[in-house]
Symmetry: C2
Subunit: 809 residues, 2 copies
Amino acid sequence: MTALEAPTTGTAREDVPTGDLAPDLRWWAAANYLTAAQIYLRANPLLREPLRPEQIKPRLLGHWGTSPGLTMLYALLNRLIRRTGQEVLLVTGPGHGGPAVLAGAYLDGTYSEVHPGVSQDLAGLTRLVRQFSTPGGVSSHAGPHIPGGIHEGGELGYALLHAAGAAFDDPDLLVACVVGDGEAETGPLAASWRLPAFLDPRRDGAVLPVLHVNGYKISGPTVLGRSSDEDVCGYLRSQGWDPVVVAGDDPPRVFADLDAALADAYARIRAIQDAARSGRAQDTPRWPAVVLRTPKGWTGPHTVDGVPVEGTFRAHQVPLAGVRENPEHLAQLEAWLRSYRPEDCFDADGRLVPELAALTPRDDLRISASPRAGGPHYRVRPLPLPDLADHALAVPSPGVVQHETTRPLGTYLRDLFVRTARADGGGDFRLFSPDETNSNRLGAVFEVTERVTSLPVLPGDEALGPHGRVMEVLSEHLCEGWLEGYTLTGRHGLFATYEAFAMVSASMVVQHAKWLQQSVLEPGRPPVPSLNVLLTSTTWRNDHNGFSHQGPGLIDTVAPLSPDVTRIWFPPDANTTLVVAEECLRSRNRVNLVVVDKQRHLQFLDLEQARTLVSAGGAVWEWAGTEEPDRARTDSPDVVLAAIGDVPTMEVLAAAQLMREHVPHLRVRVVDVVDLLGLLPPGEHPAAFSPERFADLFTDTADVVVAFHGHPRAIHPLLHGRPDVDRFHVRGFTEHGTTTTPFDMVVLNRMSRYDLVLEALRRSRRVPEGGDGLARLCHEQLGRHREHVVEALEDLPEVRDWTWSSDRS
Amino acid sequence: MTALEAPTTGTAREDVPTGDLAPDLRWWAAANYLTAAQIYLRANPLLREPLRPEQIKPRLLGHWGTSPGLTMLYALLNRLIRRTGQEVLLVTGPGHGGPAVLAGAYLDGTYSEVHPGVSQDLAGLTRLVRQFSTPGGVSSHAGPHIPGGIHEGGELGYALLHAAGAAFDDPDLLVACVVGDGEAETGPLAASWRLPAFLDPRRDGAVLPVLHVNGYKISGPTVLGRSSDEDVCGYLRSQGWDPVVVAGDDPPRVFADLDAALADAYARIRAIQDAARSGRAQDTPRWPAVVLRTPKGWTGPHTVDGVPVEGTFRAHQVPLAGVRENPEHLAQLEAWLRSYRPEDCFDADGRLVPELAALTPRDDLRISASPRAGGPHYRVRPLPLPDLADHALAVPSPGVVQHETTRPLGTYLRDLFVRTARADGGGDFRLFSPDETNSNRLGAVFEVTERVTSLPVLPGDEALGPHGRVMEVLSEHLCEGWLEGYTLTGRHGLFATYEAFAMVSASMVVQHAKWLQQSVLEPGRPPVPSLNVLLTSTTWRNDHNGFSHQGPGLIDTVAPLSPDVTRIWFPPDANTTLVVAEECLRSRNRVNLVVVDKQRHLQFLDLEQARTLVSAGGAVWEWAGTEEPDRARTDSPDVVLAAIGDVPTMEVLAAAQLMREHVPHLRVRVVDVVDLLGLLPPGEHPAAFSPERFADLFTDTADVVVAFHGHPRAIHPLLHGRPDVDRFHVRGFTEHGTTTTPFDMVVLNRMSRYDLVLEALRRSRRVPEGGDGLARLCHEQLGRHREHVVEALEDLPEVRDWTWSSDRS
């Protein structure tokens, strides 16, 4: 026993008769057997002969400690499914228990369907145990290779978020979610217990958390493991759950208690849903939850070398470590494995015996065949996207109209909400944001939907209600994790957030990219909608909020991830943002980062021009440059000005205008890049510009002054491998910030139009007539700027009110 | 009223007589006045004349909504301090209430001491209001510019972590910590409520959380704002707190209730501490906490344009927005400001009237003068560092001895724990880790200290107890945030964690770097000990755990941050790790990232050699290369092999050995770099190698094949600006990973010795005799590798058992 108190029996409040559990206990034994066999064996998978050292893997991996709890839940969920026909998705937070989940998928038959080589016979079993945690085989954690799962559980903290995302808008689904007591110490997990405040019993599915308290992490106890039942239950109850404790170390007893607890929880869930769906009034419901206290490494070796193991931290990973070298350990392992009586579980051919096979639910109801997780009947409905033309801004000429760049996206998303709405209030598109939908100028969505809350709505609240599909919570972790779960189960969404604070959930983006990268290679993993992250309220335009709100770090995080799944977009204006949004919402299996500010900005392109730019990834803006149009472009310019991002585009154009005016004979080219990873050399990314296309933009020899939205040095790793990269001179955010004006931000970081002109003059192939005068003007303006801004508390009028004009002086 | 229920009066359980509160209420009015004045005014700070539009700032920033709660707490903490002489540090989670905290520091007199220009008179008041949130002035958020604070509260979530870090090992300190109800929705904050499980009443100070529920975020309600008192209190109670609710909207009433609640909480804290310090047995204590429900934007405009503002989300930021243009708003602002009766608060010279000035505690007891936060009596004790020689490994010759690289650091830290131990169990050094101290081979520390827990300790637990100074909790956020608070208050520590999961708290590292970068420039901010982050269990040696555990992303996050505060270290072996650790523990105001694996690795340098390497940042390892020693080095090599990191060093040396053996006449140079940011061009970083030093390492012309621990492209941004950077060819982690063998990891990512040799042969200045044969050998070995590893489940013996030998064939 790991718990502090004597074992508590299940206290399920309804006495649901659940019948004979003996077969389920045997199925559990079979699953535990296969779990331990995967960890230890490389041959002799059913112990048909005495175990020999060379049949043991040279390196023992996989976590035994959590596994018996996972297999027990699997067994009893199967039972619940058989009894009720309920569709169940299982999310296992303790992903280190990968062999346990894999054992379940194998016993279901699903694994063999997806991986025919691992068949339901002795040869397949040999492959099953041999492949586990070996080079060329399968990973020790849960992952995309195990059918039925949407969650890896390597980096801990996101189980309940993924479970919630899967349940949203899926009224027929029950998501059972195992939360480990180690994972429960993480921040994201702790915050995710607030789910009941955001779950709509009418049109969402249910989430049933099973908080698995087995008391220990790697080498010490968990906080919850040392907390009383009263405190653990009080913790859950205060956040909208109605927990029941199941505890003990006697398998039949715990089995019966957990079975009853699941049956009772299921009945309570259905009652909540039935009341909501039949329109009966009710208070905010308290959702059932299970607190399961069982020993760590349950049913494994009780003591090893005289030291207690079962029920202690020593059972966390591999309870017997010296098996190959130590005959006693080997004998103990063999006895342990044989204690599950594999000969009663598998027939002569190595097939699961019929009595146990009969316990597997049918077809799609198998946990490992869930259509939500890519099972055979998985379907993604393409979004019924609105026509961009209905939302595009009229931009009759570039650089004159001002508009809040993200506002047209708001009306586009509003129409998308309408087109995806179901009669019950659900749909297959959601917007996630840390309380910033209005702030991000996407507020038009509130004309047709609301922010979700299951808590009381008061007079004076705006756009707030139980059936909305806008998720606002002040946690980037929750927004990101919910969206991940939502897209991994085939639905679509957008996470809109402040650029700097997107770093809060950066590690989740990394882990999601890893999942997608691996899943692309897995048979039986159809493509899922992309993870779309909109970074608005950007670095350059958090001039008001100050330095803590200024940071383009997520670009640095995403750029080095696998090119198979990453895209980073820098639309310069509103219409380009619309086109990029459409591209992202249509795409699959990607992490799309879209970086564009929400404030009023100059607009440059009409819709058709925006489409052309996005499909090319980058373009020469001939109207802005001063090359002679009749010359072959590659040799033409004296210097290239390139912009990546909205504020950079404005500064580059203003610089180009100054040069057009003051050094009109210098051949300046202006380039705008929207698809950042196009800069990577061919072969390094699917979006990479071909050598010809790259030369067409940047030439092979001219110096290029780049204004970039992010950290300037972030451009150089992308360019390496392109011709003569020393000629690229990048300005960007060099971590200089404070509360100031927009233009002061670009001055502080030396990316202002004047800085760009000075750099371009320095780098130009020719010393132009008028260059000295222009340089002097730039220095003067930079000097005036500081004085003016401190005095007037606003930017120089010629900067603040600047618009594009193609007149030459 | 924002709360759901009718106002609850304070339910403090002891009736502490606290006397006349009228002066404190007037002080509160003065602080609220200055808060609003900072937000709105650029002149006429005491309204000595009627308010005119041009006296209003052109852009209105700063958050009024949270501010009156902050000032009220400030007023009543002052009262508590006066009464008890208690030393108090105030951590304000809602950092957007910067003007409120600044108002407190100004009224204390401290701000004028640090910034003499902002004096205690009318001229100073004019500067105070004018500087706020303006270019060249001060930021709208709390930050290093406000004396007495250690917390910015721009990116939300870390208030209670910083408070806890400040309290550890500081028995005389009370940290009052305001937690906003928006912030309470974040993951890190949610997890940080578990503090009572880690706080030792004997040798730690106390943390008094004030959960400020004012009901709204930017545009919607908070979860806690819509939760009942019962649920909010149940939530806190279940995590080790003993909360009391103070709620209402009638200032004198709420003042009295909060005053009583603080007095009662203080008495209970002292009782807990007295019991612990006098050795009286007690259960795990429940620490007092205050739940404060007051209206958002309290005492501000009640309605604006007929719409309710006070007590709604509309009071979150600036309750009156159109003041310059709208005469009604201007009049309403003036009336609002005058309602605080500034003429009663400040005398004719603009000085706080004596009755109110008398409310400020004396000297160091002023909240804003806290010695913990850099106040006049701030002191950092340099660590009594052990002698490295006592812990260094004997390395008689390079590349032969194998050792777990971090294990000597464990004994070094053990001795450091001994040297920093106080009689009460406290000290000024702590180790923070997500349950991985043993796993990271630092377990020697448990010979002299323990993991901290305030929860029950059971038989069989190892190195666990209430007075330890090793903090293990399965949350990178908690480890990082606690360490931040600990170092910001002048103590020292180390956060040791898995490399991949260090990304979990990446945003905190970014924000901490921003704090340090700003604080360097602030008068009155003495240097603080560095934030030392040890990334062990690295990407390359998580071959067992699989792809989710493989990720060097934190390097990409830290490298672009301000060069004033960043260092990234790659010690190749154990002795270099010791030297780097010493350097980090001695340093101030830095973020030190140290990347080195914990597993058994070849050792290369003795202690003296390690010191030489670290002080140079990088060195040519002449013993490993095949240059003729008598030639000037700059022109000598045909190709350079450079290593950055431990596994890269081994692969580079193995590659060099192959070349020495098979192409002995090729002049190969081997370089090892330990101080990554030295690669940056001069002027870009204080650690940057001079041009001469850079040429000395890499020449100006030879091709350089680099094996790098992180993402390979991360090297190019550092090199840009160095001569001819196209000649650098970097191998590193290209996001290929799985559960496999160590050598398979370097093969998958094309950084193996064979890949390096092939690249070096391709890039070499000369085609060497024997080159074809060596290339063939490398291809053969790469082919054999895959076959062998899948068959044998371990690496090729010649790779696994490889050691350095300088014999030529």
